[in-house]
């Protein structure tokens, strides 16, 4: 060490300092930034995982209810008269019969106090328009059942079904004191022996106070933004509500923005319109026997305000009664899998889309696998290494990255417009998807062929096989697992592809299940798109249900690809 002269450039170099406080601080700062950097990676991965979990949970939560459906189970007798008074019992007569009176009478027998046409309509509208379809088919199969009472399932409408699927919509609590109604029908007043409604009244007032608060804030914001009219309007409303809330004992009129309150007594139900601490006035929704004092009564609330639901208080009253009397049954929704699309959510199924998908995938598979594999063989084994081959290669790589909707334009311009192939048909859908996944399959097949060692081919050539025989007898079979893996992944991609199919018209509303590759049809992802666009909540549920089904398909396909890769792919 001492040999080194102290002069010269070395003297200007600072000594490596790792012991001073400043150096320690510096090291510590460096390690802090190390930890920060590492944390960023963890955060990124966690966020991605969270998003995926959120997506899957959201879809599953929304979609699972679709696999159950609610029906009424009633004893229905279909008299011969209803089908054909002259005694015909053939399938056409049975299918053509108007069973409305039969179901109406069955429902009236199940729900008390339904009088008059409009009440009847309200009641029967709880059923799906296709409620009797199963019954009709049963009668067609066994005409001897006509005239005998049959325990039968009548499918409920989507609104009724959705009502039963939504949890905690109806709450009920025992009432204090004795309740005495002053009538049995129409508008009645229920008087209590003590202020049993006080808590409810307070809740309504509190709700008013809260709304007033919100309106005030809105008024302020509008004023800041210079919307004077809106601000004034909101302020007025807020004042009115605040006044109502302040008047502690004043009667309240319940409107449809508040939860519906009802009084249940003697088997009947009264919907409250005006509420006081110990008195309420309202209409009778379900009848009770007599106007006397009831010690055993309950306060019932339909928690969701009427303005936020598609189903009226009267309908809920009927449905609750039917449920309480054990007439409602939840069962597996087989119809979802057995019927085609429909305008009625409760009748719509995905059979048509599934069959359309099957046809489309069949066309895609039959086209893209042979073409893709043969093209890969050509490029990997036979093509001379020149500019043209290079060009084809670049072209395939780029084609794999072309937006899928552009393939839709191609299908529209070439297959539909130029070749005049039928619109909306699985034939064209399959053609377009085949072109779309062709690059994927070519690339995967080439990789699989490339991984087969050349010695295998040489061995075949050595015993006098031609180049083609060597490839087709030995290289190709050895590459099959890799090709299959690539094909499955490509097909999974095609299965979820939507955009190009929209352009070639596979968005039509199609009720029939397609029978051939030239029939108009739709496919699973397009069906999802179509349903997601419809306003009915029941269709939103169907959408999520169809998504679950599609994800299951994709999962199975990818799992199959992984299994094939693990089990059959040979390491050379």
């Amino acid at each position: 060490m001492t040999d080194i002269p102290a002069s010269g450039p070395a003297a200007l170099r600072p000594a490596l300092d790792v012991t001073s406080d400043a150096a320690k601080l510096r090291i510590r700062a460096r390690y802090r930034s190390e930890r920060r950097f590492r944390a960023l990676g963890i955060v990124a991965l966690s966020l991605t995982t969270l998003f995926l979990a959120f997506l899957l949970v959201d879809v599953i939560r929304k979609g699972l209810p679709v696999f159950t459906a609610h029906s009424l189970v009633l004893d229905v007798t279909v008299p011969q008269d209803a089908i054909d008074p002259s005694g015909r019992r053939d399938a056409a007569a049975i299918r053509g019969a108007d069973l409305y009176p039969v179901t109406r009478d069955a429902m009236k027998a199940a729900v008390p106090g339904v009088q008059g046409r409009s009440a009847e309509r309200t009641l029967t509208r709880l059923l799906s328009v296709g409620a009797t379809a199963d019954l009709v088919e049963r009668l067609v199969a066994e005409p001897q059942l006509i005239g005998t009472p049959l325990r039968t399932r009548l499918l409920l409408s989507d609104d009724a079904d959705m009502f039963f699927k939504a949890k905690h919509e109806v709450t009920s609590a025992p009432g204090r004191g004795v309740a005495t109604p002053d009538g049995v029908s129409g508008t009645v007043t229920v008087t209590l022996s003590e202020p049993g409604f006080a808590a409810r009244l307070a809740a309504v007032k509190a709700a008013h106070a809260a709304s007033a608060q919100v309106l005030r804030l809105e008024a302020e914001r509008s004023a800041r933004q210079g919307a004077v009219e809106r601000a004034k309007d909101a302020a007025t409303k807020a004042d009115a509500l605040a006044a109502k809330a302040a008047a502690k004992d004043a009667a309240e009129t319940l409107d449809d923005t508040l939860p519906s309150l009802l009084v249940a007594l003697g088997g009947g139900l009264v919907k409250i319109e005006t509420l006081e601490a110990s008195r309420a006035t309202g209409v009778v929704l379900l009848p009770f026997a007599e106007a006397k004092a009831y010690a055993d009564w309950r306060i019932v609330a339909f928690e969701r305000p009427a303005s936020e639901r598609k189903i009226t208080d009267q309908e809920i009253a009927y449905l609750e009664h039917l449920r309480a009397t054990g007439k409602v049954e939840a069962h597996f929704n087989t119809r979802f899998f057995t019927s085609g699309d429909s305008r009625e959510p409760e009748l719509a199924g995905i059979r048509g889309a599934l069959v359309g998908t099957a046809w489309t995938m069949l066309v895609t598979l039959l086209l893209c696998v042979p073409i893709g594999v043969l093209a890969a063989i050509h490029l990997e084994e036979f093509a001379p290494k020149n500019r043209i081959t290079d060009l084809i290669e670049v072209n395939i790589n780029n084609l794999a990255a072309v937006p899928s909707i552009v393939f839709g334009l191609l299908g529209l311009a070439i297959f539909l417009n130029f070749f005049d192939l039928p619109r909306s048909a699985p034939l064209v859908g399959g053609l377009v998807l085949a072109l779309l996944v062709l690059p994927t399959i070519i690339i995967a097949s080439r990789a699989a062929i490339k991984s087969v060692p050349p010695s295998i081919k040489e061995a075949a050539l050595g015993v006098g096989a031609s180049q083609q025989q060597a490839v087709f007898h030995h290289v190709l079979p050895a590459a099959v697992p890799g090709i299959m893996t690539g094909t499955i992944i490509g097909m999974a991609h095609a299965l979820g592809e939507t955009a190009p199919l929209l352009l070639i018209g596979m968005v039509a509303f199609i009720v029939d299940v397609p029978q051939a590759i030239t029939d108009a049809s739709t496919v699973l992802p397009v069906q999802i798109y179509l349903w997601s666009d419809l306003p009915e909540p029941a269709f939103q549920q169907k959408t999520a249900g169809a998504i679950i089904l599609m994800l299951v398909f994709l999962f199975v396909m990818n799992a199959a690809a992984i299994v094939i890769r693990r089990r059959f792919e040979r390491r050379w």
Partner: protein, 269 residues
């Protein structure tokens, strides 16, 4: 002859004595810009073992692969000159390369059985060339080939098992059985023992001794001892040229060329 198939007529080439099976003149091979083989000329006698020796990259394997035109599969490879088998130019465009390879079998450096059963490995060639029309005939051909490759006793109870499951030496004998199953006239062996242990090597060498009764064998080898043990004639290649060719004893005991001498005495290699 409009359709030129190599026929079994006796050799008509006037260039050498009648027992020459393969005759090569002025053979040049280019890989792209590289001149891999220059002006090679040799006569390979029938029903004998000819060994090609020489340092790595000297062109001996390249020349071997010219004899059954395996070089055709390499796009950048260009072969000029004249090679005759039984007096027919094998680079004649009329020649069907596939039939040529059926007559000139090949065994490769590393055992390369097909990923199929032992039976299928041997049966592939005969099936390809229509050598058996019934299953029984095919069975007989397979058995005969395996016997001649002295493998039958070891595998006759597991013919349906994959050929890749055999030991290295067995695999190489399977490849020899596969080659002789199509009954070729010539068998080219490209360092057939380089991937094998000494015991397996000894068995292959024994086998080569037995095979010359029926086949003309050309073997490329890295090992001079092996060349001395198995071959009747030896050719020494160096830097893409055939330096010297003659009876094995003469090459090893009394080489004419200085380079040959240096090589066999271990000066380079």
């Amino acid at each position: 002859m409009s359709d030129a198939v190599i026929t079994q007529e006796p050799a008509r080439s006037a260039a050498v004595q009648s027992r020459a099976k393969v005759v090569a003149r002025d053979v040049n091979v280019h890989y792209g810009d590289k001149h891999a083989l220059q002006q090679v000329a040799i006569d390979v006698p029938e029903k004998a073992v000819t060994a090609f020796i020489g340092p790595s990259g000297c062109g001996k394997s390249t020349f071997l692969r010219c004899i059954n035109r395996m070089n055709d599969t390499i796009p950048i490879c260009r072969v000029t000159g004249h090679i005759e088998v039984d007096g027919r130019d094998i680079y004649d465009p009329e020649i069907d390369v596939v039939q040529l390879r059926a007559r000139v079998g090949m065994v490769f450096q590393k055992p390369n059985p097909f990923p199929k059963s032992i039976y299928e490995n041997v049966a592939y060639g005969p099936r390809l060339h229509g050598l058996a029309s019934t299953k029984a005939e095919l069975d007989a051909v397979v058995e005969d080939a395996l016997r001649r490759a002295s493998l039958w006793n070891e595998v006759n109870d597991r013919l349906d098992q994959p050929g890749t499951g055999l030991s290295g030496g067995q695999q190489q004998r399977l490849c020899i059985a596969r080659a002789i199953a199509v009954n070729p006239e010539i068998i080219l062996m490209d360092e057939p023992c380089s991937a094998l242990d000494p015991i397996a090597t000894a068995r292959i060498e024994e086998l080569i001794d037995e095979l010359i009764e029926n086949f003309t064998i050309i073997i490329v080898t890295h090992s001079m001892q092996q060349a001395a043990r198995v071959s009747q004639r030896t050719a020494f290649f160096h830097m893409g040229r055939l330096v010297e060719e003659g009876p094995t004893e003469q090459i090893f005991s009394n080489p004419k060329d200085r380079r040959t001498q240096d090589y066999i005495t271990g000066r380079f290699g």
